[in-house]
Structures are given as structure tokens and as C-alpha cells.
Amino acid sequence: MTDSGSDSYTISVVRSGGFAGLRREWRVTSTDAPDVDWAALIDACPWNDVAKPRDSRAADRFVWRVEASDGSRKRTAKLDDGQLAGPWKALVDQVRSRKT
């Protein structure tokens, strides 16, 4: 099932941790950037099947929390830096570049 065609999305990305331990947040709504196919970007992410961290011995890596909501449902995922690849990276990069 795809959510393509829904009216409006709000996507937030929170980055915490790292050596500095600083918290950064980026947020965008689909109406702010209507040229982006947000539904496709969101649906491409495996929200219910987030891979395990690549190496539990790692330290000082960023921790990412990604949240996407369309009014009727909210999806959330927590990723470590090594997991931010593929569709997750595509979504996060787009939010960061379109931040409001």
C-alpha cells in the first residue's frame, strides 16, 4: 500500500549525540516543498524493519530520529549513524536541504 497522493506531510529529523552531543532538528512540511515527492520518499523507508546497528562497540556516532506524519498516522524510526543509508539518507538529506 502506498500513501502517494495524501494531502500533506510533516517530516522532522532530530540528530543527537556525536562527539559534541549537540541536538539539531530539521522540520519540513510537504506544502513548503511541493516539488518533492514526499510520499515516495517516505514510503521507500522500511519503517517497520529498521536494521540493527552495525557495530554496538561504536561511540560518538550521531543518533537520528525520523518522524513522518500525514495527519492520520505518524511513523517514527530511530537510527544510528551507520544505518543512515539508502532511502533513509535520501529522506533525511531532502529534509535537511528543505529545512524550515
Binding site: G18, F19, G21, D55, S56, A58, A59, D60, R61, K78
Partner: protein, 354 residues
């Protein structure tokens, strides 16, 4: 005295010397090669005794390899400098090389630990990771350093405390293996700050009063209102900036921050044990790496559980101080007082398997 670092290939060459004048050196090199891992480096100290005889001492030496990711996020990157090589001229690569050497020196010369694992493990680092990457991290096998964005952060090799911090994560991995979550994660972070600071203090020959007790000084650009990322002397005061906000570190257990971010706030709550160490070191005076640092290092070697709490680690340091200096010693008292001041009591705890 000639004091040089001898990479493995040179060690092999010395071992093959067939010259009476260097018989002792050749024997020492052969002994090192026979006992050591294939990639281990060693340090040979040459001196003359009172009778003008050549004295050769073999000590542990680092085996460093620095790679350049060329702004990609693929590790390890291309090797640009190996042990014994001349400087590359690349500031980040050379700072990483020198910083790994300074960190190795603290653990080896002060605590008798031969590298991260205590058995001569090669020290690997990658610089120029990613594009404008605002971080330095330990990936379980190597240290990785970004260049910073140039607006808030400069390069992460600029502070020796950062390099010492990252390598200490490796030491913790091979000793206490503190889980990177919650209180044990904050302890993991704090241990890295403690020895990151001690690496700098040892390299600069600073006493407790001369040391800055800052972590990451020099990383911020001039645009940021802040001296460093963390202050061990006064957690919560390292920066106060319009964009970044105020340093959120608590300096007392009553300010412990419960959060889902940052693996349970490991970089925030580390301020509490950081200050406990500073207070103990400050009370003892002199060089912090000698007594306070030795106690914290000894505590790491105790059989700590992966989910060790602040109270359990505090008890481990008190026991370590008692074992080395006596239970009624000034050292043990200083450690107890340090923890007590930050709200962590060391009375009893059955979670410590010692």
C-alpha cells in the same frame, strides 16, 4: 640518549645485524620479533652506562596508520602515513598521527598499557571523513575525524583531547566494555573525557592547576560563543551561544537528564562523573595522571558489568584507591569526596563483581 620509534621492518633489519658493536641491539630486536604480533612496533632506547657500555632497552611503541577518506564516507580510505613516515604536510593527518602517539605515550609510559588492547594493537585513524562532517567517532576499530562545517566547527583533530577521547573508547572496549546507553554510556563517555584530558595534560606537562580541564577546546570557530564542548571543572559552562544554546551538562546527580536522545544523554550526563574526577584530582594536586588517573585506570580493570551505574563505578574507584594507596589514604578520601560532592554515594552496592 637516542630515543627512536622502530617500525617492524626496521626491527627486522636490526635483528639481522651481524656486528659485535650492535649485538645487544640485534638480540633485543630478535626477542621483540619472536614474542610479538606481526605488525607490532617497538621503541629502542640507546644509552651509555657509567662504564661507557652501550645499553639498549626495548619498550613498547605505537604502530600508527593514518588514512584519508577524501571527503567520502567509505572507510578506511587511502593510507597517507604509516609508522615512522615523515609528516605528510596535511594538517589533519599529521595531527591525528601525533595525537595517537601522545595517547599511546600516556597509556604506555604511565599505566604500562601497550596500546588499546594491552597487546600492541595497531592504531588506525581516518581523516577528512565526509563532507563538512561535524564529528569525530570511534567505529569499534578505528578513529574517524571529520573536517567540520567551517561555520560552527573546524577540523576535529585540532584538539588533542578529542584524539585521546576517541582512542580511550577503544581502551574501554577492551576493558570495562561499558554499554553505550544511559548511566553506563555516560561513564563510557566520561572515561574518554578523563583520559582525553590527561593525554593533553601529560603531553604539555601540566599540573592540575595549570590544566584547562576543557574537552574540545579549539574546535569551535570564532563565530561561536564558547571555549570548548565540555568543561570537567565546571560542567554546564563550556559554551553559551545564540545558535547552539547553553552547555546542558549537569554538575550534580540531581540534574541528571532523562532523555531518549543521544543514547540516553551519554554526552550530557557525563558531566557528573567528569566533575567527580576533577574534584578528586584537584584535591590531590600535582599531576592528575599520576594518582587520580591511576585510580580511574585501575577501576577500569575491575570486573565491571556492562550496565554499570554511577554508584557502582564510584565504588570501583574507591576500591581501586584503597587497593593501591590504602583505604584510609588521602587518595581514597579524595575519591570518596569527589563522588559525594556530585551526589553519588559510595557506601555500598552489590552490583560490582569485585
Amino acid at each position: 640518549m637516542v630515543h627512536g620509534i622502530v617500525p617492524p621492518y626496521l626491527l627486522a633489519r636490526i635483528a639481522e645485524l651481524d656486528d659485535e658493536r650492535f649485538a645487544t641491539a640485534a638480540q633485543a630486536a630478535r626477542r621483540a620479533l619472536r614474542y610479538d604480533e606481526p605488525r607490532r612496533a617497538a621503541r629502542l632506547n640507546f644509552s651509555l652506562d657509567a662504564s661507557n657500555n652501550l645499553v639498549v632497552e626495548l619498550t613498547d611503541g605505537p604502530n600508527r596508520t593514518i588514512a584519508d577518506a577524501h571527503n567520502d564516507e567509505t572507510l578506511p580510505g587511502a593510507v597517507v602515513r604509516e609508522e615512522g613516515d615523515d609528516p605528510t604536510g596535511d594538517v589533519a593527518a599529521d595531527e591525528a598521527y601525533d595525537g595517537l602517539g601522545a595517547t599511546f605515550a600516556l597509556f604506555s609510559e604511565v599505566y604500562g598499557r601497550n596500546s588499546i588492547d594491552g597487546a600492541g594493537l595497531p592504531l588506525d585513524a581516518t581523516v577528512h571523513y565526509g563532507v563538512e562532517y561535524d564529528n569525530a567517532f570511534w567505529d569499534g576499530q578505528r578513529m574517524v575525524f571529520g573536517d567540520g562545517d567551517g561555520e560552527i566547527f573546524g577540523r576535529f583533530t585540532a584538539s588533542l583531547t578529542v584524539i585521546g577521547h576517541e582512542l580511550t573508547h577503544g581502551v574501554t572496549q577492551y576493558t570495562a566494555a561499558l554499554e553505550y546507553q544511559g548511566q553506563s554510556g555516560a561513564l563510557n563517555e566520561s572515561v574518554s573525557d578523563v583520559f582525553g584530558s590527561l593525554v593533553e595534560q601529560y603531553a604539555l606537562g601540566q599540573s592540575t592547576t595549570e590544566a584547562s580541564w576543557l574537552i574540545g577546546a579549539g574546535l569551535f570557530t570564532a563565530e561561536v560563543e564558547g571555549a570548548a564542548l565540555r568543561s570537567m571543572r565546571a560542567p554546564g559552562t563550556a559554551y553559551d551561544d545564540d545558535v547552539l544554546g547553553k552547555d546542558p551538562q549537569p554538575d550534580h546527580l540531581s540534574g541528571y537528564v532523562d532523555t531518549d536522545d543521544d543514547n540516553g544523554g551519554v554526552h550530557i550526563n557525563s558531566g557528573i562523573p567528569n566533575r567527580a574526577f576533577f574534584l578528586a584530582a584537584d584535591a590531590l594536586g600535582g599531576n592528575a595522571w599520576e594518582r587520580a588517573g591511576q585510580i580511574w585506570y585501575d577501576a577500569l580493570a575491575l570486573e565491571l558489568a556492562p550496565d554499570t551505574t554511577f554508584a557502582q563505578f564510584a565504588l570501583a574507584t574507591v576500591r581501586a584507591a584503597g587497593t593501591r594507596y590504602g583505604e584510609s589514604s588521602a587518595e581514597a578520601d579524595a575519591v570518596r569526596a569527589g563522588w559525594s560532592t556530585v551526589g553519588v554515594e559510595t557506601g555500598d552496592d552489590d552490583g560490582l563483581r569485585v
